[in-house]
């Protein structure tokens, strides 16, 4: 493996790719910190939660459930369901880590979130994305998350909600990451089907099951579509 000459480049690349995520995490982390503090958690407990769990959505849910006196088992089961979608992301990412050491993967997996998944996938598809930069990205995002939740626990109440449209940062980022994924008609069709299925499933299914249901349905649709298109393409070539 090449050593020090590239170290700095790898760091900088990871940090450079991470900043939109950090920008998006910051206000969300602050508001989680505020809620946690209102729920009676000390700032260090909020930090410990972010360190051990690192899953924004389920942390919000857990705080709300703690506030309403839910049992430990219910909160853990809900967390499991809410984060199950990462099974899909981790599977899709695995293609880019052939034969990589278990230690590296164990460290990397800790930082697999919707956001880091989206950015890393876009970079891997572009080509030339170093796995170590991907690791830096995951842990930069994670550190930002932990710090912003702790900061929120201390002073979140003084920061006005919705300042500068910062609460749209992650939506904007997801829109652009989706555009990066539209690499042909089959991908556009898949995204369209996923969007429609997701809205329908959101209305009918509890919690965030809509994400996995819609993603699996749409990916299967896209997969079949590409197979059919491939077959037609071959027939046309022969004609």
């Amino acid at each position: 493996m090449t050593r020090s000459p590239f170290k700095k480049g790898i760091m900088t690349a990871g940090l450079g790719a991470a900043w939109p995520i950090c920008l998006g995490y910051f206000p969300i982390g602050l508001s989680l910190g505020v809620l946690a503090q209102k729920c009676g958690l000390a700032p260090w407990q909020t930090g410990l939660m972010s360190l051990l769990v690192f899953a924004g959505g389920s942390q919000f849910i857990a705080i709300a459930m703690l506030g309403s006196g839910a049992s430990m088992a219910t909160i853990v089961a809900t967390t499991f369901m809410v984060n199950l979608r990462h099974l899909l992301m981790s599977s899709a990412l695995s293609v880019h880590f052939p034969g990589v050491s278990r230690r590296f993967l164990a460290l990397f997996a800790y930082g697999v979130t919707d956001e880091s998944f989206g950015v890393n996938m876009a970079r891997f598809n572009q080509g030339g994305w170093d796995r170590r930069s991907a690791l830096v990205l995951n842990h930069t995002a994670n550190l930002t998350w932990i710090l912003s939740t702790v900061l929120g626990a201390f002073l979140g109440e003084f920061i006005p909600a919705g300042a500068l449209g910062i609460d749209y940062a992650l939506t904007g980022m997801f829109i652009c990451l989706l555009v990066f994924q539209l690499r042909g008609p089959a991908f556009v069709a898949t995204a369209f089907v996923a969007g429609v299925c997701s809205v329908i499933a959101y209305l009918w299914l509890p919690g965030n099951a809509y994400i996995m249901v819609a993603s699996c349905l749409a990916a299967t649709f896209g997969f079949c579509l590409r197979r059919v298109m491939g077959r037609q393409g071959r027939v046309l070539e022969r004609a």
Binding site: M49, V76, T79, D167, Y168, F174, G222
Partner: protein, 109 residues
């Protein structure tokens, strides 16, 4: 819950969060995937990103209903156009924020 219970809760939450993130990476990266699974997984990012965004743009929570014309949706249009034109992540994030902020100011929300 006391401090001790909270620690156990966070550890359990951490375990059920970490395992789905770690197991597929560790198990799948060590073997040759069948071609169909690789092709299927290739469609997952587009599908998952779209599935994450769509309800944020087209629905409201509690009660869950389809709502057209949210500022999130209006702001998404220039954001999407900008992303398609420039393919710049940083630029898109900033354009999205400015559009959303401006719209909310304009609509006095």
């Amino acid at each position: 819950m006391n401090g001790h219970d909270l620690l156990i809760l966070f550890l359990a939450m951490g375990a059920v969060t970490y395992l789905p993130r770690m197991l597929p990476l560790v198990l799948l990266s060590r073997r040759q995937l069948p071609a169909w699974l690789g092709e299927w997984l290739e469609m997952i990012p587009a599908a998952i990103l779209s599935a994450l965004i769509a309800p944020a743009l087209f629905t409201q929570a509690s009660p869950r209903l389809v709502v057209l014309g949210k500022p999130e949706l209006w702001a998404a249009l220039p954001t999407l156009l900008f992303a398609l034109k420039t393919r710049s992540l940083a630029g898109t994030v900033l354009v999205g924020m400015v559009c959303y902020w401006g719209l909310r100011l304009f609509l006095k929300l």
